[in-house]
């Protein structure tokens, strides 16, 4: 049985990665299991300079999911390179850095530095809904994503994955912009913009009023978008959105994802990601699948 996949030149022992912002830089989860069991780790969104993030309240639970408005709190790329990367590199797993910025220049500067680090790839975050400048502001038009992606492409030799926001009318056209600009893969979906109101206080629960919805609640939207994007582009897809077990992961792969990420699922159990690896293997055994890549995009539409 072969579970290896190749995501835009990033070789992974299995298709399971952990999504940005739900796994920190790996330390906390390494206390529960050997991180080498994962196909890859997407780091917490990392910026050129440290960011302090948004005022609390930053998270709240919703039906089968949660809202967050963390605001990309992170220690900056320099700190990451010195303190977190050496730790992550002790494990036999792909290390992909989620890169975020507030301007095209910042993305470019950051990616110049990332290009010099011992990492396997970059996931360009053009889709965080919780910060005022950058991110989703670039990510919601064809021209916007194409521009940032092509500028970053000029300075980045490593595999470039661009993470897409679902908060758009036509995600397939945005994905096309990414592909046209020379990205190696797309990842989707980031969180869906949402809001929860405390009816006693008559105010939104989150201090930022709105936040990104994640968890199983968004899975059908994510599966649909992965399918649509897979029909529109030829570059591979890293699929995510509410995956909490092997069956969910298979659904994304059938829809067209080469690899998948576990996001909010990491919060309900520290073992969700490695249980998903096992769940995929169980499915392969049950269906006599020798090679996991044989199921990618194999959904048959009605």
């Amino acid at each position: 049985m072969n579970t290896e996949v190749n995501l835009a030149g990033i070789k992974m022992k299995n298709p399971v990665t952990v999504a940005s912002g739900t796994f920190g830089y790996g330390r906390e989860f390494s206390e529960f299991f050997d991180l080498s069991k994962l196909g890859g780790i997407i780091t917490k969104g990392t910026s050129l300079k440290p960011r302090s993030g948004n005022k609390p309240t930053r998270v709240c639970e919703t039906a089968s999911g949660m809202l967050n408005s963390i605001g990309l709190q992170n220690p900056g790329v320099e700190y990451f390179a010195e303190n977190d990367l050496p730790f992550l590199r002790k494990f036999d797993t792909a290390i992909i850095v989620n890169a975020c910025g507030s301007s095209v220049e910042e993305y470019v500067e950051l990616c110049k530095i990332l290009n010099t680090l011992d990492i396997d790839g970059v996931e360009l975050n053009l889709s965080c809904p919780n910060v005022k400048a950058g991110c989703m502001a670039f990510g919601n038009t064809y021209e916007g994503v194409k521009h940032v992606t092509s500028e970053v492409r000029k300075v980045l030799d490593k595999p470039l994955i661009v993470k897409l926001t679902p908060n758009v009318t036509d995600i397939a056209s945005i994905a096309k912009g990414v592909e046209d600009a020379g990205a190696d893969a797309v990842s989707l979906i980031n969180t869906l913009l949402g809001m929860k109101i405390d009816i006693d206080k008559k105010r939104p629960v989150l201090e930022n009023n709105t936040g990104g919805l994640s968890g199983p609640a968004i899975k059908p939207v994510a599966v649909r978008m992965v399918y649509q994007v897979s029909q529109a582009v030829n570059i591979p897809i890293l699929g995510m959105g509410g995956i909490i077990n092997g069956e969910d992961a298979i659904e994304f792969m059938l829809a067209g994802a080469t690899a998948i990420s576990i996001g909010a699922g990491n919060f309900i159990s520290p073992y969700t990601s490695i249980n998903t690896v096992e769940g995929i293997e169980d499915y392969m055994k049950k269906h006599n699948i020798e090679n996991i890549i044989d199921i990618i995009g194999k959904v048959e539409m009605n």
Partner: protein, 263 residues
């Protein structure tokens, strides 16, 4: 280093209306726990409710590996938890939190709690007293119906003052006022507090203004409990408003030095 375990519920007791005390067999967690640590419980195997519930540790029975926690039924999650029966397994991660109560350098401490915030103070009282620290305890409740755990606390402290806001039981008024009165003669080395935000703010102000060491246990909406989601942010006292710096209740806390955080 926290563990995830399925702990058997061996005793369930309704302390007062809608407040339950659960005793679970959790030697792996008990062994590693300190006063101030908390646990996260997955109340349902399904996806709704989705997140774990952070709950403070009430009592650690190190000898028998039994952990006790007390919670109030407040919403869907705690309602499901309250329906568990003795013999059921409960999915727990713990101990969580790196900032715990520190009492080793003190001889004479005051512990103050309000309402459902008194729960993490029991293990602290018990452990400090066992280590020959003089423990004076002040517990405040809104009214007589909400007074709880008096006998438990009485056994593990040197003195216990119970207050009710409306005077329907024992001393009328706020616990902090009784603590302040005693401070003159008792000269406590450190104050430990957990309770509603207005109470914590008042204690923090009093302790900081009078330069008294003070440790407060905080609460904030939380997802992972492990320090990765960065949801449970609390602003540091030293950072300016225009460039705030945030720590996290699950990582730096839940217990903080009162001078270090802005609440």
């Amino acid at each position: 280093m926290p563990k995830q375990i399925f702990a058997k519920l061996i005793k369930k007791e309704e302390v007062i209306k809608d407040i339950y005390k659960f005793s679970v067999k959790a030697p792996e967690i008990v062994e590693l726990s300190k006063p101030g640590n908390f646990i996260e419980i997955r109340v349902s195997e399904g996806i709704d409710p989705f997140l774990r519930r952070p709950i403070s540790i009430y009592n650690l029975d190190k000898e028998n590996g039994i952990l006790e926690f007390i919670f109030q039924v407040k919403g869907k999650g705690t309602e499901i938890l309250a329906q568990k029966e003795e013999g059921n397994d409960i999915d727990i991660i713990g101990p969580l939190g790196h900032g715990t109560f520190k009492y080793e350098k003190y001889n004479n401490i005051a512990i103050i709690g309000g309402g459902i915030g008194i729960f993490p103070l029991y293990e602290l009282s018990k452990e400090a007293k066992l280590n020959n620290v003089k423990v004076s305890c002040y517990l405040g409740f809104r009214n007589k119906e909400l007074v709880m755990l008096e006998d438990d606390f009485k056994k593990v402290v040197d003195s216990l003052i119970i207050t009710t806001d409306d005077g329907t039981y024992k001393n009328k008024g706020f616990a902090i006022d009784y603590l302040k009165q005693d401070m003159e003669k008792s000269k406590y080395d450190c104050i430990y507090a957990c309770g509603p935000l207005p109470m914590l703010k008042a204690i923090q102000k009093y302790a900081n203004e009078n330069n008294i060491d003070c440790q407060i246990s905080l609460e904030e909406k939380m997802a992972c409990g492990l320090g990765v989601c960065l949801g449970c942010a609390v602003k540091t006292a030293k950072s300016p408003k225009e460039a705030p710096e945030y720590w996290h209740v699950c990582k730096g806390g839940p217990v903080f030095n009162s001078k270090d955080v802005e609440i």
